[in-house]
Assembly symmetry: C2
Homo-oligomer: 129 residues x 2
């Protein structure tokens, strides 16, 4: 069970088979093994890589940015420091993005509150009727 078929990997990662192939073509995934019939299967390590790539995507890192990270990975252990630096600067970007989103959300929430008081003035205490 440490080797998943395409459909199992789809179920496990939440990505589509199309997207898995696309990531492979873009070199985010490499050395994906095949069975005797030429079909892909995904090892535990690959599934972990896919999940990490998904986390990078979900936080807004571009495919290109992820590729840079993966390329460092492929170049060996001596790139660990650079990889960490990459992740750290991404983390900063995500924190900034979160801050901006929270500020925008706040503005939206104030607007909702405005609607609530406005609707309340028109039809007050409706819940007590």
């Amino acid at each position: 069970m440490s080797q998943l078929s395409v459909s199992e990997a789809v179920a496990e990662t939440g990505l589509s088979a199309h997207t898995l192939r696309y990531y492979e073509k873009e070199m985010l995934l490499y050395e994906v093994p095949r069975d005797s019939g030429g079909r892909r299967f995904y090892t535990r390590e690959l599934i972990a890589a896919i999940k990490f790539i998904s986390a990078l995507r979900a936080t807004g890192m571009s495919i290109h940015g992820i590729k840079d990270y993966i390329d460092l990975y492929r170049r060996g252990e001596h790139t660990a420091q650079q990889r960490m630096g990459l992740l750290q600067s991404h983390e900063e970007a995500v924190q900034a993005q979160l801050k901006k989103t929270r500020a925008s959300l706040n503005m939206i929430q104030r607007k909702i509150a405005l609607y609530q008081s406005q609707l309340d003035a028109v039809a007050p205490n409706k819940q007590r009727a």
Copy 2:
């Protein structure tokens, strides 16, 4: 000063002139007034609308979704309840998105910590040297 030229509106909102025109074409902005020479200018109300639209965009609402909201606005006061509902369901979507982003960020932070301990094992106490 309650009427801003294009370049002033650009400075005030952080959007490009291209994007302002694009939003107008997509009907997110309407009745943008013109001076005698046919040039646009932006009233206080328009600037506020642009900033609110930017907040919706920054939280991931699509242009189409914003258009739906604006269309309700144009139809008059009796749509206030619907508009509020729209904002509320958007708020929920944003909260869910934030949650997902935080979870992904957490995964990335754990990876960074892993790098840190790994690099520390190779060159421990470097800071004390």
